[in-house]
Amino acid sequence: MVVEDDADVVRLLQFRLEKEGFEVTTHGDGAAALKVAEVECPDLILMDIMMPLMDGIETLRQIKSRRATAKIPVIMLTARADRIAVEETREMGAVEYIVKPFDPEKLVQRVRKALKMPSEG
């Protein structure tokens, strides 16, 4: 699941990840993502921090506090690179923190790592 409000970045991620063989669902805001995550239980969530209404940190907190979704690994993918955000999200249970702009190849590797899959190449 990709939670990101910038459509271009969404398309970029979706393209690359689907190329890699992943099934990708996308949501533009935290609230919608939360509802769907509870039902669909994705294997991994890639989430931006800076989103309107409920931001990524709050959404993360919600995900981690609900039994249905608590175990889903979450990777933060965001332009916010300050230490506070990094630590807060780590404390809340995010497994990775990737700063934009990112190299899509490197991102794929880290996704595979988070899903505990062997990396290719």
Binding site: V9, M50, R80, V99, K100, P101, D103, P104
Partner: protein, 757 residues
């Protein structure tokens, strides 16, 4: 011989008669009548003691011509002693006795014999009865016995009457004293009180005049408080010092002085007061202190009894207490008025807002309190060179014009301003008083100008809140009036109060300004950090898309690329990476400036970081056909640093080295250990940096003078950030270089000590 029965009858009758007398003259009349009747005399004369001067004076006469009467009244003591009449023996007088006073009487009255019967009481001569016979039908001795009995009775009666009169007088005097005390007790005006006292004292004693002096023990001066019966001109000569003259010595000794008869040579104040014969001077005492002296004088001879002295002393002391009370009351009132004024002043001062308002309150109150015609307050500017006029009081237009023409007074040496009383007051930190502007030689220029406003005296008080002056207040008087000690002290107090109020207001204003600017800078900082967040997101997001899509294409995810496509996309990617680096640098600098750069210090393995950065730079190195050598000391200890940021520093130095070196040259990274720290050097053989620019290269946005640098792309932030990062991790950064001979950038970091954490 007269029988005792008859004598007893006489005694009784005489006693009755005399006891029934209403007053001394009635008594005297009775005595003389009884004497005449008993002695069957033809004429008689009686004198009794006059208390006021303690001498015998004529009381009654019978059948004597006026001349005879006055001859007898002349010098009674003389003919009495000449007659040798004693206490229990009357004396017979005849023309041949040779008493001068009687000479005229023998002839005029055609009498031939006289009998002189003196009356005594306790050895004191209290009267004398003289009887005359033309031709006694019996020898005088025949009447002597009964006359002596009369004398006895008369003595007692006279004495009783004298005493009665005395006690009458005393009670009248006490009544008077009571009246005075009441009158005086009701008075709060010391002056009026003193007049009452001195007039009553003179009246009670039937004196010719009196004077009350107040003694100032501190200054030693005695001032006339009130007087009666003394010409004003004479009073001028009556200003004594304590210890001077009779009055002065009573003031010093505190002991009553009575003079029954002043010797002609030392007739006191004879010229001004006329001859004074007797006087009594009593001290006025309050609580063992002599606060004044009351003098009562007589132009005739007067005897003073102990009763007189004690009465006058009581009056004097009552007066002293009352005068003291009145003075205290007056002082208290003055103090109250002062306190009220000060209270009002303080209230106005604390409710004034802003320095100009405070200055106005100060000048208004201090000028009115001092009774000055106009006043102005001046403030010293920051450097202490200039006095600026702040506020002015006094409607005089000449004065206002004067101040308007002199709003700034320079205190620099050589200027007119430095030769003003204000300048002196500030320099000396003392009040400057010019009692008379026309006679003072200092400040001539200033005084001439001031005098044109109508001022005749000036006082300048510096305003000193702690230890140095912040301003000065000038008061101008239209009269030449000296200030009393109390007034000066009060003014000093006002000056001190003004100084602290002014100082407080200045501090408050400064604090408010600082608060405002602090608030402003905090807001600015707040805006900056919000800006940083905004920038980081808004700039990085589009970069993400640009970079991401290009990378996808370059990784052949959209199909194969031809050479041009590959090359051009590569250029796009390179530039997005540059943009990203610039955005990151900007964000770093912004964080550094607003103090929000967070560093996490931990034990750091520099060799690993060097390796990592060297690897990251490999592509760039290869692209420029350069060589990178690393020389890391064996067993390099850990340093206390933020690994990510150190990586950033090394990366920055490396990229500079690569950028500014020619193709094919080599770069070396060295890491070595020295005393308590590790040093890393990045050396290149590039264009080098001139020695005068060695410091400047680390400045923000500095790009250097060399053309090469100018054409090379970069924002000039990297070294500035590097310096901040190194220095905030406890290290130092520097460069060794020469134009055209390459550069070595070095930085050091402190070792990580287990115990220092």
């Amino acid at each position: 011989m007269i029988s005792s029965n008859w004598n007893y009858g006489v005694v009784e009758e005489v006693g009755h008669l005399l006891a029934g007398s209403q007053g001394m003259s009635d008594l005297c009349g009775s005595i003389i009548r009884i004497g005449i009747s008993l002695g069957k005399a033809d004429a008689g004369w009686l004198a009794v003691l006059d208390r006021s001067d303690n001498r015998l004076s004529r009381a009654a006469s019978y059948r004597l011509a006026d001349e005879s009467d006055s001859e007898l009244s002349g010098d009674i003591d003389e003919w009495l002693s000449a007659s040798k009449a004693g206490a229990s023996d009357p004396a017979i007088a005849t023309p041949s006795s040779g008493i001068p006073a009687f000479t005229g009487i023998w002839e005029r009255e055609t009498v031939s014999t006289g009998l002189i019967i003196p009356f005594y009481h306790a050895d004191r001569n209290i009267g004398v009865l003289v009887l005359f016979w033309k031709q006694p039908n019996r020898p005088i001795e025949h009447f002597a016995e009964s006359l002596l009995l009369l004398a006895n009775q008369a003595q007692n009666a006279i004495q009783n009457m004298i005493q009665f009169n005395e006690s009458q007088e005393r009670s009248k005097a006490l009544e008077s004293l009571l009246k005075v005390t009441r009158a005086v007790g009701g008075q709060t005006n010391a002056g009026r009180m003193m007049s009452i006292v001195v007039r009553e004292a003179a009246r009670i004693f039937h004196a010719d005049g009196g004077v009350l002096h107040l003694a100032n023990q501190a200054t030693g001066v005695m001032e006339v408080g009130a007087s009666t019966g003394i010409r004003k001109s004479a009073l001028e000569n009556m200003k004594y010092r304590i210890g001077e003259g009779m009055i002065g010595s009573v003031a010093r000794s505190g002991v009553t002085l009575t003079v029954k008869e002043l010797q002609p040579e030392s007739r006191w104040m004879a010229k001004s007061l006329g001859n004074i014969s007797s006087l009594i001077i009593v001290p006025m005492r309050v609580q063992q202190q002599t606060t004044g002296v009351l003098t009562v004088f007589f132009r005739r001879r007067r005897d003073f009894s102990k009763d007189d002295e004690s009465f006058l002393a009581t009056l004097a002391n009552e007066a002293a207490i009352a005068i003291e009370n009145a003075r205290l009351y007056e002082q208290l009132n003055a103090r109250l008025a002062e306190e009220r004024m000060l209270h009002r002043f303080s209230r106005h001062l604390s409710s004034a807002v802003g320095v100009p308002a405070v200055l106005k309150e100060i000048v208004d109150h201090v000028t009115s309190f001092a009774g000055a015609s106009f006043g102005s307050v001046w403030m010293l500017d920051g450097n202490g060179d200039l006095l600026q006029s702040g506020a002015v009081y006094g409607a005089n237009p000449a004065f206002r014009d004067f101040i308007n023409m002199h709003t700034n007074l320079s205190l620099l040496p050589g200027t007119i301003g430095s030769r003003t009383p204000q300048a002196l007051a500030i320099r000396k930190a003392q009040t400057v008083v010019i009692p008379d502007l026309s006679t003072t030689r200092r400040f001539r220029e200033w005084n001439a100008v001031v005098a044109s406003t109508g001022a005749r005296a000036q006082i300048c008080m510096p305003l000193i809140p702690h230890d140095s002056a912040i301003g000065v207040i000038s008061l101008y008087f239209s009269d030449v009036k000296p200030l009393t000690q109390t007034e000066r002290q009060a003014l000093q107090f006002l000056a001190r109060t003004s100084a602290s109020a002014l100082h407080r207001m200045m501090l408050a204003e400064r604090l408010i300004e600082e608060e405002i600017s602090l608030r402003a800078s905090q807001e600015a900082n707040q805006l900056k950090t919000e800006f940083v967040s905004l920038v980081s997101h808004e700039l990085r997001t589009p970069l993400t898309s640009i970079q991401g899509y290009v990378q996808l294409m370059l990784a052949n995810h959209t199909g194969d690329l031809n050479d041009y496509q590959r090359e051009f996309l590569g250029t796009v990617l390179k530039n997005t990476e540059r943009l990203t680096r610039i955005v990151n640098d900007l964000i770093d600098i912004s964080r550094i400036e607003s103090g929000r750069m967070e560093l996490r210090l931990e034990p750091t393995d520099l060799s690993a970081i060097i390796t990592h950065e060297a690897t990251s730079a490999r592509e760039m190195i290869l692209a420029r056909k350069m060589e990178l050598h690393t020389d890391v000391e064996e067993g390099l200890p850990f340093v206390k640093a933020d690994p990510h940021r150190i990586g950033q520093v090394i990366s920055n130095l490396l990229s500079n080295a690569i950028k500014y070196s020619p193709e094919g040259s080599s770069i070396t990274i060295r890491a070595s250990r020295s005393e308590g720290e590790v040093t890393i050097n990045v050396s290149d053989s590039g264009i080098g940096i001139a020695s005068d620019e060695h410091d400047k290269v680390f400045d923000r946005f500095y790009r250097g003078r060399s053309d090469v640098v100018k054409t090379t792309l970069g924002a000039g932030l990297g070294l500035a950030i590097a310096r901040f990062l190194v220095e905030s991790q406890g290290g130092k950064i520097w460069v060794e270089s020469e134009r055209g001979k390459g550069s070595t950038f070095s930085f050091s970091l402190p070792l990580f000590h287990e115990d220092s954490e």
